[in-house]
Point group: C2
């Protein structure tokens, strides 16, 4: 066996263990009876330890040395070379993280999440503050262990968005704010109630599911390699490209919840299902730092696809002109007095609100910036944990013009910090920005794409995304993908232009160049 | 840490890996999209290898040496001592099995099963024969590696029914035949059609499911630690006592399929859910040779519980007198002209037939004996693979008075041999025999048990079974359990008396002592 084959077999085993962990997690969230939680915890802990031992082993070190010698001189852009290079990069980084830090983080997480969940219900930030402080201290130690040039945030965001740094994000956010804040003000000034509230009716869940799945399949989601389940916090998860599962949640009245939840996760799933079969069980479908198997190259790149399919396609006027008649076949009475235009406006209503996961396309990124700015402040010491509620509320007022009555609807709303997930939020906004760049490039590259979309034909778009993004798995960074597809790095222009055009039309804001 | 704690932690990790394997198998059979099969195979292979390496390691050897020194002199009946002793016993046995034999078996199994499935569909025994010969050769090598005193079958049945040998089984079968064959002849002579065929109606599946689950819970199945799914080949599987899942299959007309399938698997599940919490993740809930986590002490002991709850309870006159009115609430039209007595007779119809899994209580064991006799003949060389169809058909005629028209309905009907599972069939019959001994002992020990059962109260029976059987996990062998509960080893008397009484009444065969 060649050194590369031995290396690849070793990584394939790691991939198998990580996939098994993901299957156990999916089961725990969607199928497991409640009594199984404790022993499932043991199973996950044991498999996680095995995966860690497998990767941070002398065997990995030996195989890396051998394969690096063997592939020296090969094309730097080949999957082989990139697989070895990325494995080496993460091997060195992960070896820098002290084992006691890993175990302290693992031990704190369930406790901290439990305290957070209780504090959220009871609107009691003070009870959560000491655990948040511990998570912050661990995050700082992790940042020191990994290392960074300018800001400790750089070391943490690296796990989720390797192309990003605090400095780059500050520039990005300033550019976004300069576009978004005035747009939002104009929208709010022009807002008027819709002529009819569509969400007072009841939409039986089985029909909601059937329609959502029909659209997911029209987008290209392959049920031979996927399935749709219910989960209180919807997610997509893949166990190689051959088994890519999505979840959604349902509201009897509020039809958009299950539909757009499904389309969002479908976007993630199309990315995973589109990975080149040759990358199955290789280093280019593993997130080494996150310790899970995934085809998408970063949080932002992944989110760019969920946002693209959910928002830019699923919330477009063309989409509803094509698919509204079909939706009305499912719900003839409920939608008797509605039409495509009303539906389009109903699913795109902009309203400054308190809760991130319910936010519209215009306000969503403001929620993200607020969080990222707070994280940076906590990490560089310019902000203290006990100042968080006040700072949160002030920023909400500044960006969105609303102030939460409770910390439950404010600083306690998201689970991320309770699990120590500092650095993960930028991916959402980076994804939004990237999605517009990618779609712009696709429209440029694919003749007749707009006409196809207007006919509800998604294969040409999917094909372009597969060829340019999905198939490469994690072989190229988000930055590299952007460069290859669009000729430039992250740019807010296309995204702001997309929002300006869409909402100028929706809210009759007047000229595009307003 | 004490040597015992170190030993126990090591075994707990093995248990976690084996449980993860079982979860992946459950998922593959009930949830996985078809496209996931190939990569799931890799995941299972990798985890199986990890489990094997974990167990057959120098670390296990060291820990065993240390813990044996530490527990020397402790109570031989304690769980601790039994856990260590069984681990040592299987450690030595499994180390005798050459690794190339293990990998040859693993490689042959999927191919052989695939060829069998095709041969069954095409009624082509000749195409399967070479693979059966290979499985037989591997089984013989396995028997030689494990070792045996009298008959190679002894080494193979040890995996499934450690208390059994070929010689003991021959005695058991002769005793059973002496009772069953005359009983069957009398039943066939007295058989007359039922006055009404209940299985011409349609029974909506959701109601079938609801009723079956209602009964499973009445028996004591805890849905907080379990769930019911659909599977083409129903099974029970446990990932510790905290997560014990069952499956069934449905026929729109033939109500008994889903109901008794559920009750059968419920019996298995009650065993698993009843294991002492202290045995969770210990050697006393692992089948080392079978390499899976299980609380029941042998195939026969396990089957004794599925048979007890399915047949002796679920197919009893008392059961239907209590539960028929409830079933009619689910199916008022379908069962308008039926009553408890008709239902009782309809679910106990005895008919010599070709297919084991559809056989009634009287003929079932004859199907098993035929298979076990053939296995013994193949292993000791008195029977050749190419003689199987002829021998099968001759034995069917001898025992049941029927001859299959095709090998599909004959020698090709079961999957077991294609996977090399020689030695597993006796468990079914041993379980039937044991079930009657256990129930007889429970009736003797528990005051008012018959009255409770006649009222549909199952807690007293469940409590006795938990205390005497379930809670011990694999700490005692089937033989030891029988000795402790009934004062004697396996005895056909109670089982034959049960069948004689039940079917004499059902078929009006005259006096009990006929």
């Amino acid at each position: 066996m060649s050194a590369y084959e031995q290396f690849q077999n070793h990584i394939a085993e790691l991939s198998d263990i990580l996939n098994a962990i993901s299957i156990l997690k999916w089961d725990a969230r969607t199928q497991m009876p409640p009594g199984g939680a404790e022993t499932r915890g043991y199973q996950l802990a044991t498999l996680s330890r095995l995966a860690q031992e497998h990767f941070i082993s002398d065997k990995t070190a030996r195989l890396l040395d051998a394969v690096e010698a063997e592939i020296a001189g090969e094309d730097e852009d080949s999957y082989r070379v990139r697989a070895v290079r990325q494995t080496r990069q993460y091997f060195e980084i992960i070896r820098r993280i002290p084992l006691d830090l890993v175990s302290e983080k693992a031990a704190l997480e369930p406790v901290s999440e439990h305290v957070w969940a209780k504090a959220k219900v009871e609107n009691d930030f003070a009870s959560f503050a000491p655990y948040l402080q511990q998570q912050l201290d661990l995050a700082k130690r992790q940042a020191e262990a990994i290392g960074y040039q300018e800001h400790p945030f750089d070391a943490l965001v690296f796990e989720y968005e390797p192309s990003m740094t605090a400095a780059k994000l500050r520039v990005l956010f300033d550019q976004l704010k300069a576009g978004l804040l005035p747009l939002l003000q104009r929208i709010v000034a022009h807002d008027r109630p819709l002529e009819r509230d569509l969400w007072v009716h009841e939409y039986p869940l089985d029909k909601q599911r059937a329609f959502a799945l029909e659209i997911a399949q029209a987008f290209g989601y392959d049920l031979n390699r996927g399935r749709l389940d219910v989960a209180p916090h919807p997610f997509e998860i893949s166990f190689t490209r051959q088994d890519v599962r999505i979840t959604t949640r349902y509201s009897l009245n509020y039809l958009p919840m299950a539909l757009f939840g499904t389309l969002h996760e479908t976007g993630h799933a199309l990315y995973e299902q589109g990975v080149d079969p040759a990358l199955t069980r290789t280093a280019l479908t593993i997130d080494f730092l996150g310790k899970y198997p995934v085809g998408g190259t970063s949080y932002g790149a992944h989110e760019s696809q969920s946002r693209l399919w959910e928002n830019q396609i699923g919330r477009s006027r063309e989409f509803w002109e094509v698919h509204f008649p079909r939706l009305r076949e499912y719900f003839p009475e409920q939608l008797a007095r509605a039409d495509a235009d009303l539906m389009y406006r109903a699913v795109n209503r902009v309203r400054p609100s308190l809760i991130r996961v319910e936010a519209d396309e215009v306000t969503y990124n403001l929620h993200i910036m607020l969080r990222v700015e707070i994280e940076m402040g906590l990490l560089d010491g310019s902000l203290k944990v006990n100042e968080l509620p006040e700072v949160w509320n002030a920023k909400m007022q500044e960006y969105l013009g609303v102030t939460p009555d409770t910390d439950t609807d404010g600083v306690l709303q998201d689970i991320h910090w309770s699990g120590g997930g500092f650095g993960s939020f930028p991916g959402y906004t980076v994804g939004n920005v990237m999605s517009a760049q990618f779609l712009e490039a696709a429209r440029r590259d694919v003749p007749g794409l707009n006409d196809a979309l207007a006919r509800g034909e998604y294969a040409p778009l999917l094909h372009w995304l597969q060829q340019n993004i999905y198939r490469h798995g994690r072989a190229y960074s988000a930055s590299e993908l952007l460069q290859r597809c669009t000729g430039s790095d992250l740019q807010v222009g296309p995204y702001l232009a997309y929002l300006e055009a869409k909402f100028s039309d929706l809210y009759q804001l007047g000229a595009y160049a307003h």
